[in-house]
C-alpha cells in the first residue's frame, strides 16, 4: 500500500462523494475483473457433486445462485488468492479462490461434515455464524479449538437443528476483513413457507487494498482518519439554515467540540478506502439477478462486512421481510431496511413489470453503496436513486434521551462524578423483577478507555436507526420483528446481566463496562440458566453484538413471539434487552461484530458450565 494507492483511494472516495449518482445515466461499459466473481467455479463443490456436474446452472461463487441441492458433506480449501476489484488488489485469504466463498447448502436435521484444508502459511479457522453447534465445532481459535494449522485439514461435524440463511467466516486474526467469508443456506425440514420461484443470496461486504493492521494503526493515530464529511466552515451556512440561525448552529458545534466529539462520526472506516460489494461485485460491475415478471423472488441479504452498516432499498418494489437472522418472522412489508454487520434478512419481492430494478445498499455514512440489478434479461441496468444525506448524531445518540439540543448540552459534564445519578430504566428493571439476581456494574467509569456515559438511555427498538427516521419511507425497525412461533423456552429469566458498551473514540479503545477484553474476566453462565442480557450503549455508535452458540431472544414487545437473533444492533444512547438460555456448555465468544471494535477490546468470553 503505497502513497499512490492512498491517493487513488481518496480520489475514489472523492468521486463517490461528489457524484453519488454518476451511474444514473446508465453505464455502457462493463468492467471485467479477474479473480473475484468468476474464478474457482468448480474449486468447491459438495462431495456429491458428480451427480450434478451435468446441470446447466454453473455454481458460481458470487452469482448469488444457491446450489441446486443440499449436501451434508463439503470440502473447503482455504488459500491465498490475488484478487483485483475496482482497481484495488489484495493477496486475500479465500475459501475456494473467490470472495465471497462458495454458497454452502445444507438440509435441516442432517449431520454435516465440512473438511477445511488450510493452504495458507498461517493458522486459519471457519466460524459458522449463528449456527448452534457444540462448542468445539464453533471455530473460534482459543475458545473452541486450537485453530487449523498450515497444511492441516480439520473436519467440522455437527447436526443442524435449524434452518434459514446464515454465513461463515474466519475467526483468525484479520482474515475475515480481507475476504474469508461466504454464505450458508439451510433448507427447512418441513416445506418452506417462503419458497419462491427465484432464490438469491445477496452478500454485502467491503473491498479494500489497505491491510487491516494499517487501518487500525491509522485509527489509533487519528480517529477520524477515514471521515471526510465533518462539519467545516464551508458547511456552516447549510447548518445554520437547518438549525434556524447561525447562533444555534454555532452553539451546537461548540457543545460537540466541548465534549471532544464529532456529530459526524458515523462510520470509523468509510468509502474513502472501501468499495462496497454485492456478491463480490463492485457497483459498476452491477451484479445481475434474473426474474420473469410476476415471479416471486427471494433475496437472502447477508451483511458480511467488516465495519459497514447498509440501508437497503429496491426502488419501485415493496420488500416483504420474512426472516431475520435465519428465523422466520411474520412478514413485514417495507420500502427500506437497515442491516447491521453480521445480520441477515430474507425478503421477498414480486416484480411485475418487464424492467430492471436496482438493489441499492448505501452505507450508513453515505460514502458509497453496493448495488445490483434485478432484471428480466442479463446485462440490464436500473437507474440508481441519489444517495440520502448522511446522518448526524444527536442528543439521543449521546444518551440524553429526547432532550432538545440547546438545553441539554450545557448541562453535560463528561468529567464530573455522576455516580449518584442512576439511570431511570435500570431502576425500573429492578422493580419489575424483584427476586431476580442482577449483575449491575453501575455507571461505567470515565477513564482512559471510556469517554462518556449515557445519562438517560432510551428504548430505541422502535427506531429504524440514525438517518432513517421520518424519511418518508416505510423502514423496518426491531419492534416489527415477530416470530412465527412462540419461543422454545418460556421460563422467565432468573438473572439479569447488565453490560455497558463503552469506548474511547479518541484513543480508539473499545470495551464493556469501561474495560477492554484483556482487563476483564469471563461472563459465567450456569448450564440451563435463563438470563436476561441488558445492553446500555454509552458510545455514539451502533454496535452489532453477537453471542456465539446460543440464541439471543430480543425483548421487543412481542411477548412469547420475540424474535430469535444471533446478532443484535445496540443503537447509540439506547438500552435494550434479550433473553438467553444457556443450554450448550463450553466457552463462547461474545463481541461487537465491527471487527476493529472486537479486536480492540469489545469482546468477552462467555463460559457456560
Amino acid at each position: 500500500m503505497g502513497i499512490q494507492g492512498l491517493i487513488l483511494c481518496h480520489f475514489c472516495g472523492f468521486f463517490l462523494m461528489t457524484f453519488p449518482s454518476r451511474f444514473r445515466g446508465g453505464l455502457t461499459r462493463r468492467r471485467f475483473v479477474t479473480g473475484i466473481g468468476a474464478g474457482g467455479l468448480l474449486a468447491v463443490l459438495p462431495r456429491t457433486s458428480q451427480a450434478f456436474s451435468s446441470t446447466a446452472v454453473p455454481i458460481r461463487a458470487s452469482s448469488g445462485i444457491i446450489p441446486p441441492t443440499p449436501s451434508d458433506r463439503w470440502d473447503l480449501k482455504v488459500g491465498h488468492t490475488r484478487i483485483s476489484l475496482d482497481g484495488k488488489t489484495m493477496h486475500a485469504p479465500t475459501v475456494g479462490g473467490t470472495v465471497p466463498g462458495p454458497i454452502l447448502r445444507f438440509k435441516q436435521g442432517d449431520t454435516v461434515s465440512i473438511n477445511v484444508t488450510n493452504t495458507l502459511d498461517e493458522p486459519t479457522s471457519i466460524h459458522w455464524h449463528g449456527i448452534r453447534t457444540p462448542a468445539n465445532m464453533d471455530g473460534v481459535p482459543g475458545l473452541s479449538f486450537g485453530g487449523i494449522a498450515p497444511g492441516e485439514t480439520f473436519t467440522y461435524r455437527f447436526k443442524l437443528h435449524q434452518s434459514g440463511t446464515y454465513w461463515y467466516h474466519s475467526h483468525s486474526g484479520m482474515q475475515e476483513a480481507m475476504g474469508l467469508y461466504g454464505a450458508m443456506v439451510i433448507d427447512p425440514r418441513r416445506p418452506d413457507p417462503n419458497a419462491c420461484d427465484r432464490d438469491y443470496v445477496i452478500f454485502l461486504a467491503e473491498w479494500t487494498d489497505v491491510m487491516p493492521h494499517d487501518i487500525v494503526s491509522n485509527l489509533k493515530m487519528q480517529d477520524d482518519y477515514y471521515v471526510f464529511r465533518q462539519r467545516t466552515a464551508a458547511s456552516f451556512p447549510k447548518e445554520a439554515r437547518e438549525a434556524g440561525s447561525a447562533g444555534a448552529a454555532l452553539a451546537d458545534r461548540l457543545a460537540w467540540s466541548k465534549m471532544r466529539m464529532a456529530a459526524t462520526d458515523i462510520a470509523d472506516v468509510s468509502g474513502a478506502i472501501y468499495t462496497y460489494t454485492l456478491n463480490g461485485h463492485a457497483p459498476e460491475m452491477n451484479w445481475n439477478g434474473l426474474f420473469r415478471p410476476g415471479e416471486k423472488v427471494r433475496l437472502r441479504f447477508i451483511n458480511g462486512s467488516t465495519m459497514t452498516f447498509f440501508d437497503i432499498r429496491i426502488p419501485g418494489l415493496e420488500m416483504l421481510v420474512v426472516q431475520a437472522d435465519g428465523n422466520d418472522i411474520e412478514p413485514v412489508p417495507v420500502d427500506e431496511f437497515r442491516i447491521g454487520v453480521a445480520e441477515t434478512y430474507d425478503v421477498i419481492v414480486q416484480p411485475k413489470d418487464e424492467r430492471a430494478y436496482a438493489i441499492f445498499a448505501q452505507s450508513e455514512d453515505r460514502t458509497g453503496y453496493a448495488r445490483g440489478t434485478l432484471a428480466p434479461r442479463e446485462g440490464m441496468i436500473a437507474p440508481l436513486p441519489p444517495m440520502d444525506p448522511r446522518p448526524v448524531r444527536t442528543m439521543v445518540d449521546m444518551g440524553m434521551g429526547n432532550m432538545k439540543p440547546g438545553e441539554s448540552m450545557k448541562d453535560m459534564d463528561m468529567s464530573g462524578d455522576m455516580s449518584g445519578m442512576k439511570m431511570k430504566g435500570m431502576d425500573m428493571s429492578h422493580m419489575a423483577m424483584p427476586k431476580m439476581e442482577v449483575d449491575d456494574p453501575g455507571p461505567p467509569p470515565i477513564n482512559v478507555e471510556n469517554q462518556m456515559r449515557a445519562m438517560m438511555p432510551i428504548d430505541r427498538t422502535g427506531s429504524p436507526g440514525d438517518g432513517l427516521e421520518n424519511n418518508g419511507r416505510r423502514v423496518l425497525n426491531y419492534k416489527q420483528l415477530r416470530a412465527t412461533r412462540p419461543g422454545a423456552d418460556l421460563r422467565p429469566p432468573t438473572r439479569e446481566i447488565i453490560l455497558h458498551l463503552t469506548g474511547n473514540m479518541e484513543r480508539y479503545i473499545w470495551g464493556f463496562n469501561g474495560r477492554k477484553f484483556s482487563e476483564s474476566g469471563p461472563i459465567r453462565l450456569k448450564l440451563g440458566e435463563r438470563v436476561r442480557f441488558t445492553l446500555i450503549n454509552d458510545t455514539m455508535m451502533e454496535h452489532p453484538i453477537h453471542l456465539h452458540g446460543l440464541w439471543s431472544e430480543l425483548e421487543n414487545g412481542q411477548g412469547d413471539y420475540r424474535p430469535y437473533k444471533h446478532t443484535i444492533i445496540s443503537q447509540p444512547g439506547s438500552k435494550l434487552s434479550y433473553l438467553v438460555t444457556a443450554d450448550t456448555p463450553g466457552m463462547w465468544a461474545y463481541h461487537c461484530h465491527l471487527m476493529y471494535h472486537m479486536d480492540l477490546g469489545m469482546f468477552r468470553t462467555v463460559i457456560v458450565a
Partner: protein
C-alpha cells in the same frame, strides 16, 4: 427495658439493612478474576494489547526572509500501547548554517484519563549553542473544545527551572483545507546568555498554518510564522546583535506515518 432497647436496636439495624438493600450493589458480570481463563493453545481471541509506532512532523518548513531562509522542524514520534508509550520530541531551527533552539526530549508517557497523558523523562538542548540537560515532567492531551495542549516543567542539572506551554487548534475550512493556529512559549527562572534565554517569559514561536491534506499523512502548507525573544531574553539577543523577533512567510509540509 433492656429487652425493648435491644429490640429497637434490632429494628434500626433491620431498617438500615433495607435502606442499604435499596441501594443497588454493583457487580459486573465480567469482573476481572484472579485466575485468568486458560485458552486452548494459549490463543487469545482478541488482540487488544497491540503496540503501535507513529511519527509526525508538525512543522517541516522554510521560513523565508530576504537575508536568508531559516529551516525549522518540530516533530514527535511514539511507540507503545494504550497505557504506556515511549515518546520522542525534537525541534530545532537552522539559520545561516547555525542550529539553534535544538530541543530533544525522550519521555515515558502514561495515559491517565480519556484525553490526557502524563509525560516524564529527559530533555537535551542540543545544537550549536552550549548543551543543557533537563529532567522533564508534564501533561499532554486534548483540552476542552479539542485544543491540542501540552505543558512541561523542567529542572536542569544546574538546578534551574524552566517550563514550556504549547497549544494548537485545527479549524476545518473544508475537510481537507485546515487552518491551524499554533504557539509555543518558554519560561526560565534564570537567564542563560549562552542560550539566549532570559528569566521569565523568554521566547515564543508561533504560526498560523494553512494546510491542504492531499491525503491524511501528507499536507503541504503555507504559513505566517513568528519567532522572537521577549522581556529579558530580548535584551540579551539585542546585546548579542541578534535578531530579536521576526514575522516570516513560510512554506512547509506536515506529514506523518
Amino acid at each position: 427495658m433492656k429487652h425493648a432497647l435491644s429490640l429497637t436496636v434490632l429494628a434500626l439495624a433491620a431498617l438500615s439493612g433495607t435502606a442499604r438493600a435499596a441501594q443497588p450493589v454493583y457487580h459486573a458480570a465480567d469482573a476481572p478474576e484472579a485466575t485468568p481463563v486458560v485458552y486452548i493453545g494459549g490463543i487469545k481471541p482478541a488482540m487488544d494489547q497491540g503496540t503501535w509506532l507513529h511519527g509526525i512532523f508538525n512543522q517541516l518548513e522554510g521560513r523565508y526572509a530576504p537575508g536568508g531562509t531559516d529551516f525549522r522542524w518540530d516533530g514527535e514520534a511514539w511507540f507503545g500501547g494504550d497505557y504506556n508509550k515511549i515518546w520522542l520530541k525534537s525541534e530545532g531551527t537552522l539559520e545561516k548554517g547555525r542550529l539553534s533552539d535544538g530541543d530533544h526530549e525522550l519521555l515515558y508517557t502514561r495515559s491517565i484519563s480519556s484525553y490526557w497523558n502524563l509525560q516524564g523523562g529527559v530533555r537535551m538542548d542540543l545544537d550549536d549553542g552550549p548543551t543543557r540537560t533537563w529532567g522533564a515532567f508534564g501533561v499532554q492531551g486534548l483540552a476542552l473544545y479539542e485544543f491540542e495542549f501540552e505543558a512541561t516543567a523542567y529542572v536542569s542539572d544546574r538546578g534551574r527551572f524552566a517550563a514550556r506551554v504549547e497549544g494548537s487548534y485545527d479549524f476545518l475550512l473544508t475537510n481537507r483545507l485546515i487552518l491551524q493556529p499554533q504557539a509555543e512559549f518558554n519560561f526560565y527562572t534564570k537567564s542563560d546568555t549562552g542560550r539566549q534565554a532570559g528569566a521569565g517569559l523568554s521566547d515564543v514561536d508561533a504560526g498560523l498554518r494553512l494546510r491542504y491534506e492531499l491525503w491524511r499523512k501528507f499536507a503541504p502548507y503555507v504559513a505566517v510564522t513568528y519567532s522572537g525573544y521577549l522581556t529579558q531574553a530580548r535584551r540579551i539577543a539585542r546585546d548579542q546583535h541578534d535578531d530579536t523577533g521576526s514575522v516570516r512567510f513560510s512554506l512547509g509540509v506536515r506529514s506523518w506515518f
